[in-house]
Amino acid sequence: MSFLEMLYFIIPSAILYATPLIFTAIGGVFSERSGVVNIGLEGLMIIGAFVGIYVNLEYASQLGAATIWIAMLAAVVIGGIFSLFHAVASISFRADQTVSGVAINLLGLAVSVFLVKMIYDKGQTDMITRPIGRFAIPYLENIPFFGPLLFRDVYSTSILAFAVAIGAWFIIYKTPFGLRLRAVGEHPMAADTMGINVNKMRYIAVVISGALGGLGGAVYAQTITGDFSHATIAGQGFMAIAAMIFGKWHPIGALGAALFFGLAQTLSIAGSQIPFIENVPAVYLQILPYVLTILALAGFIGKANAPKASGQPYIKGKR
């Protein structure tokens, strides 16, 4: 394999692996910016992956080409609804947000596998017949170097992911909603005295994170695995959290971090076929995202600061 061929193989694959991380990490950005830690992203991705595969399997024959989009929409809706567990527990009932997130992870996996066994009478679904496909963008694919690198094997979901990242940046930094969201995560009492409904903002943010987490799961399952079992999502949600932190709670930062982690994943899976790194044990690449996140938090790669009020329930009248 020549160097160029290698790049043409690695980069599209990295983007493929990054796409679900981008959705989920940006979901995490919304939630954490409002002051709610969401460890439950893994569970939300699992639910999304299950819903995506289920809809795809059951309705592909009726829906045709629209299948993947309906499947993703269903995952968004169910992910959003499922995240209400986390919202109710951690916002209204003042549960510890980390504990509630852990419960979401357990519940997401248990419910999904339970339903798979109930519906299909086995632990793993069949392969879907209509996965999310690649296409080439006319004209752009002919650009030398960048064409084959970025525009020849494109997933529509990857384009959507970039759009979501930019959209999230716009919403969080340019709109009144975003200003309020950030205020609620930094100093909820100040926001309250300005007439902002802190809990409502947090509910919205958590539901957005659930919707995007569900979307991330559905995209992962329909692009990478093609079926659903208990092991379909194995750490993607936590890697998305890592991307969110490594991206310093910023949508574009999370996008960049997710792309980087996608690259690491690609290399860890396909590394043995790639010259230069074929002798690097896969384990180094597997642990790279996590180790980098720790280093980022320790301040070796620029200091990352979480929103000030994250993790604390807002109780009116308490100083």
Partner: protein, 348 residues
Amino acid sequence: MSNRVINILVPIVSIIIGLIVGAIVMVVSGYDPIQGYIALWTGIFGDSYSIGNTIRQITPYILAGLAVAFAFRTGLFNIGVEGQLILGWLAAAWVGYAFELPKVIHLPLALLAAAAAGAFWAFIAGFLKAKFKVHEVIATIMLNYTALYIANAVIKKLSDGGFKTERVLESASLRSPFLRELTDNSSLHYGIIVALLMVVVMWFILEKTTRGYELKAVGFNKNAADYAGMSVNKNIILAMTISGMFAGLGGAMEALGTFQNASIKPGFTGIGFDGIAVALLGANTPLGVVFGASLFGSLKYGALNMPNAAGIPEEIVSIIIALIIFFVASGYIIRVGLQKLSKKKEGQ
């Protein structure tokens, strides 16, 4: 109603609501909940074999619960029990087969290795928190995956590309023919004694020693501890290390007792995360952890009987456990409810 009564009632009410919601889920899914719960019950207490295996299942839950509870009591959230446990598992298995020693040395050595491996992994998180203010929740999550991949890579290497290590030697095993015969060939092993011993250790450290007083003070208020001349950083690191030691021993239970080896895992064991539930249900007290572990360990093992005996997927029990966690974590609202209820009664 006194606070004490409410503190005990919150987990009990949570368990009851969890079981009721579980029943509703079964009904809605077209299963028979009564049959389901009977199958669960038989799966736990049906015969001496089940009881033996239930106790075996409870053992690592106690240690994982202690690890989480100990950290909680010292103001830390160790969500990394999973990774510490995996490394403890690996360390115990390796010492268990790689050395040939008399049992009085070999078994304690293997246990010690597991404790040390878990402690070291948790120490990293403690050190990062003390020196660089890295939040331990995020650090331990990241360390979980790091541990999983490293353990898998090491096992692969140790087994020359295989997927599990050699079997631990008899001299390092926690199993015993006596227990096996007693429980109709179950895999019950002496680990339960180690676990209960650690329950006493945690109680003693926290409630009887000056170090326990310090650890708790640091956990509640770092500034006051600093003012009182305690070393905050040292205590944070120590608290994490002790917590990780419990977790590592939890891994030893699997290596030296249940499985007798260490194998490559596609994902987490789940014991570490369930340990959070155990600690929470047990209100982070040593004795509470025993109860919490007994409940969740029993449910988990008993659930395995549900598909065969009642045709219900065993995941129903995981759903119930997750719901119980939600309810215990939302203790505030249950508390408010209980207080209102008791007020009404007083008013009548």
